[in-house]
Symmetry: C2
Subunit: 222 residues, 2 copies
């Protein structure tokens, strides 16, 4: 399904709210969270999310189950633990946008600012997307996380004084743009960054909502 | 949450794919589906969806549990059974739109065409919305149904030759417009129909995506 087949990679370690804890742990288990995450993604891809156990993930990472549960509540959280931190980042970017920024400018700039965070993890993002696409429950979970993100962004716009329904519509439009842009960025083997695709998708959304067919060339002036 | 607090009323009897069966049943249980639905909505509102049993719904409607299960698989289906028929209706409206219609015109006309179906059931729609808003699981189910609808509409646009990402973005934009319009229509005590709110919300979406602030007046020409 087009609506749910785009998974936003939100497992950035750089977004971790437990960074200090990780630093402490790293003294005797260097990068244990990253090792568990990489092991989980490989196993989910190899045998399917539903057929993978926490014990197998821990073993593949060369760590104990106890260590797994220090980092993640369950095997699903490996795929979704960064969502809250990503949301907090986007919300504060919207709140901090210059007063002169229009609602859509505030949302789009916030989304573009995630570019560097995602840039170095394109391969993991692709792996995660495949895992999520293959599992209905995970696709639904992703959808709910994105809806929650849209809702939080609409709230942030309201705090900037944007009335409804403009706040809701702008946030929804921003998330639609982000999802399309993210899918293109993940599947692109070239060197263009996420912000390029965000701008491109925003342009497409402006074209389609304005009622002109994106497929049809402009009529020649006679 | 703004994203999930808008429930689309999709329990229209006129959309029933089991209309013939209903007609047959009606000989000895007139309008049993409608009676069960009304009884369920009242009970869900009074004591909460999770605290209502099928036995209670049947009793309130003056019918048996067996009759309930002839019409609905479970108590959740009372709220969602019309979704498939609504989707089929919208998809065929998009496919049948004139060739000259732009993608957004095809989607918006299809959505507007649901107006008469919903018009006579505004009260039930309001009741259903309150029930769904009060329950996380129902809000998530509603979200998934709407995502599935957006996906089906994007597919219908692709069959009209609309390329991606225009197809995806147009369908998503249409659903965002519909949700906002529907919420306004449901909460409006006046006489304006759903199509009025659809046009109004489309106008707002066009304004916000074009980057102009809906809140700010246009600068005076000096």
């Amino acid at each position: 399904m087009a609506v749910t087949d785009i998974s936003i990679y939100i497992c950035c370690q750089s977004l971790s709210s437990t960074a200090e804890y990780d630093q402490h742990m790293a003294r005797w288990e260097p990068d244990s969270r990253g090792r568990l995450e990489r092991a989980a993604l490989v196993l989910y891809a190899e045998r399917g999310f539903e057929n993978t156990t926490v014990a197998e993930i821990a073993a593949r990472a060369g760590l104990t189950e106890r260590t797994f549960f220090r980092h993640f509540a369950d095997k699903r959280e490996v795929l979704f633990w960064g969502a809250e931190a990503l949301q907090a980042l986007l919300v504060s970017a919207v709140e901090d946008a210059p007063e002169s920024a229009s609602p859509i400018e505030a949302i789009i700039s916030a989304l573009e600012a995630t570019g560097p965070l995602f840039e170095e993890r394109r391969d993991s993002a692709r792996q995660r997307q495949r895992v999520i696409n293959a599992n209905t429950e995970l696709r639904e979970r992703e959808l709910i996380k994105l809806a929650s993100l849209a809702s939080a962004l609409a709230d942030a716009l309201r705090r900037r004084g944007v009335p409804d329904p403009a706040a809701t519509l702008t946030a929804e439009a921003g998330i639609a743009v982000f999802r399309v842009a993210f899918a293109r960025w993940v599947s692109d083997n070239g060197s263009r960054g996420l912000p390029h695709y965000i701008q491109e998708s925003l342009g497409e959304l402006q074209t389609v909502t304005a009622g002109r067919s994106a497929a049809a060339p402009a009529p020649a002036v006679t």
